[in-house]
């Protein structure tokens, strides 16, 4: 079984993200693996360990992604591809999906595992669009993957009203939830091994496509402006006579906050 896993580099959302003139201030930011992709990597590695699957990882854009790809290697991924091209600065989910389609077609994979969404944009579309482009079955928000035989997998998906069990014929695309597993923290052995491995870095031309073909020239969506969420205001504290305070609070709620 050949598995293709996606990995996006995202800004560490634990940090305060500052916006200036409609753009994100880069200073002081740090970038990490998208958390859901970490789950996808872990799921792939588990299939490698338990079912002897061959694992390949693809990361798109982001400039220098060496750190996160090495980390995925250290977790157990075998091959890594990084597609980077100046044309990708404004790429959206459709562009990513097109590139993934190209990679998929070159490699003939049995299963594509992606995180169900990325922490930075929270769109949750890439995996599903990819399935559409490839004409493959797709299940999203997957919380477990079980290999039935060479051609079939059984996945469970967290739906609105309970867990859905779905049998899929391979090849297929699944997007995974963060409750599918607890990603391992790569330690010594993995990290030492990862240092020796190479990453296949390609631009669009090397991949055998072009900016136009993947839709990079005219993305279907474009981020026009970033707006920082309004900072939460501190509460007000009232002290003194209870009757007096109650009257004041009612007055403030009615006239200032206009809740009734």
């Amino acid at each position: 079984m050949k598995i293709l896993t996606t990995l996006k580099k995202v800004v560490d959302v634990e940090l305060n993200i500052k916006v200036k003139n409609g753009a994100i201030v880069e200073e002081g930011l740090q970038y990490v693996m998208n958390a859901w992709d970490e789950n996808a990597v872990e799921a792939s590695v588990q299939l490698k360990e338990n079912k002897g699957a061959e694992t390949t990882l693809i990361s798109i854009g982001g400039g220098d992604n060496t750190d996160i790809i090495r980390k995925a290697y250290a977790m157990g991924i075998e091959n890594g591809i990084h597609i980077d091209d100046p044309a990708l600065t404004k790429a959206d989910s459709f562009v990513y999906a097109r590139i993934l389609q190209k990679v998929y077609e070159k490699g003939k994979y049995d299963l594509v595992i992606t995180g169900k969404q990325a922490q930075d944009t929270d769109n949750g579309q890439t995996g599903i669009i990819l399935a559409q482009y490839l004409g493959l079955p797709c299940v999203s928000n997957v919380i477990s993957i079980e290999v039935m035989d060479e051609q079939h997998i059984k996945v469970s998906r967290l739906g609105d009203v309970g867990t859905e069990i779905v049998e899929l014929e391979l090849p297929a695309v699944v997007t995974v939830s963060d409750s599918i597993n607890q990603p391992r923290l790569p330690v010594l052995r993995g990290i030492m091994m990862a240092k020796k491995k190479t990453i296949k870095v390609m631009d669009l031309a090397t991949l055998g496509t072009s900016k136009d073909e993947v839709g990079g020239a005219a993305p279907k969506s474009e981020i026009v402006e970033f707006i920082a969420p309004e900072a939460r205001k501190g509460g007000q504290k009232f002290e003194g006579d209870v009757a007096e305070i109650t009257a004041r609070v009612v007055d403030l709620l009615a006239n200032e906050a206009k809740v009734f």
Partner: protein
Amino acid sequence: MNPLLMFLLLTVGLTVFGRTMFHKIQLLRALEPTDRANHLKERLMNMVVLAIGQKRLIGRSKERGSGIIHAFIFWGFCVLLIRSLTLYGEGFQEGYSLPFFGGDHLIGYLYVALKDIMEGIVLLMIIFAFFRRAVLKPERLHNTFKAYLVLAMIGILMVSDLLYDGARYNIIQLFNNPGSIHYFNNPQYGSEFLWTPISVGSATLTSGFSADTNITILTIMFWLHISTQLLFLNLLPFGKHFHVITALPNVFLKSLDYPHEKPELLDLEDETAWAEESLGINHIHQLNWKQGLDLYTCTECGRCKEVCPAYTTDKPLNLHDFNDKLKIELLENADNIIKKAKLLATIRQSEDTGQIEKNREERTALNSEKKLIGEVIAEDTLWACTTCRACEEVCPVTIEHVPRIIAMRQGQTLMAEAYPKELNTAMKGIERNGNPWGIGYDKRADWAVGLDIKMMADDSNVDYLLWVGCAGSFDDRSKKVSKSLVGILQKAGISFAILGVEEKCTGDFARKVGNEMLFQMMAKENIETLNNYKVKKIITACPHCLNTLKHDYPQLGGNYEVIHHTEFIDQLVKAGKIKLKQSLAGALTYHDPCYLGRYNNIYDEPRSILQSVSNGVFKELGRHGRESFCCGAGGGRMWMEETIGKRIYLERSEEIVGLKIKNVAVGCPFCLTMIEDGMKELGKEEQIKTMDIAEIVEKNMV
């Protein structure tokens, strides 16, 4: 008496014993190296105080009874060594005495008097010990046949010697010495009996018999004594009584690092090391020889488990079992380990690469098939340890449990990747954002906003760096402690600054859970920052940060004077820079944090501060000072769920509640969290206030 028989007995006894010891020592020599051949004076001092002085046996009030029993048996043995040599001599030549111990020397008389009294005391102690084992049955003791056998043998040694002397007294005094029995080879022989009341007393037991019978009794008792002694000697190496031989060297060779041998600074770039799985302890042959000697020496007295927060709350960690299992595994692999060492010596001398490769393979084939963790020691056992060091503090023979546990965790984390996965979040947190909560590093100094605190980046020309620590920076409860501490420092006019967003977790818990890689990463980054600002003196409110900065960072080139805030506040109070008023109402107690007390010997300063602010009674907890009971958060346990047994923090909190006090002071952010949680869970949050000493001081400053 009978030179031939004596010769035979000694030859057989000592040859067998020699062979056994040769094998035991050979095994130790085949284990990994560790350097203990230094600081002779300090080592001798340890041996005098801890081993000969029996400090940890008689020094602990809780264990004084059994301590005294043991101490006198031990001292009795020491005294009787000279007697034994005399008896061996007597076997060859009647009336033999050691130089200066004969009848023409006062020292000889003094010695027989001492020996006589000691034998009486030892005999009494043996009776107490029997009674204790058979009737009182303390929980910590393993009652085995062998334990009784050893007691019985010591009893036989004492009784036979006393009866021997008694019979001799009768022969000389009652029967005019028909057989010319000497003790001291001198003209006044017999006069030593004036010095030996117990022997003379025991003479009455056989005074009714004839001279011949007394001579027979004397002969039997002599040979019984000699053969019991040689049998005893030969039994010692095969069980817990080996400590009779190994305890003194074990104490002498104990680590002089404070507080125990530091985790080895592993070379993580060494590719052969991880290819051969030689980082940490994964298999029995990876113990160093001192750790082997520790296993020989463990007396299974059980003091360690009695004070262990994990054992006492029903976790599977039982340290004397732990030692015992390792010892069995060590002895089972003894021959292979010795062969491995021989092969290594061959490899080192050989230049033939083909031969070296072959020997290497042979060596690998000799490794124990058992993984230490999982097959000898259960995983839950290994991870239950809070690294509180209570066990090491009470161990009479100074066994170092904690460094060995950390080395085994290194094996699990670095090599086997079989550490508790729940640690991932915290480890990832420090890797990415420099704190175990994983909160954005850019928020590290948010607590300090508006407090007019200098940042090192703006002005590093200050006297002290205030090391805030992750808890003090990110944990809401501990942030209050940081603010209080800043208030005190500002009031005292201290010139200080913080690192702000440049500070990162010291790596304490990473190291304690065996993630040496993460520890070194954090340490290197912090040391670079600190050295960049030429930091000399550091104040911190976190004992874990304190310990790591002070004891672990020098291994990586970070040398600073690190002061805990309680020490610093105490200095400020004593120098009159801050004045306290005794306005803290209600009875008060103090919970000693392990990493402040046992790890860094700071016990008095917090108490001194508390005495100056409290107008209530200061009550000590039952378990305090060196024997303080852990809150349960050390050794990375802060970041693991406690799913087995009773929660350690509840055990401690109940003890605090039982003291009927109004305030409990702590000096560690983890203790603060644990104890306060305990109070909440016990519904005592309102009645008993849990506070850091800095908070108490800030509220009670003039």
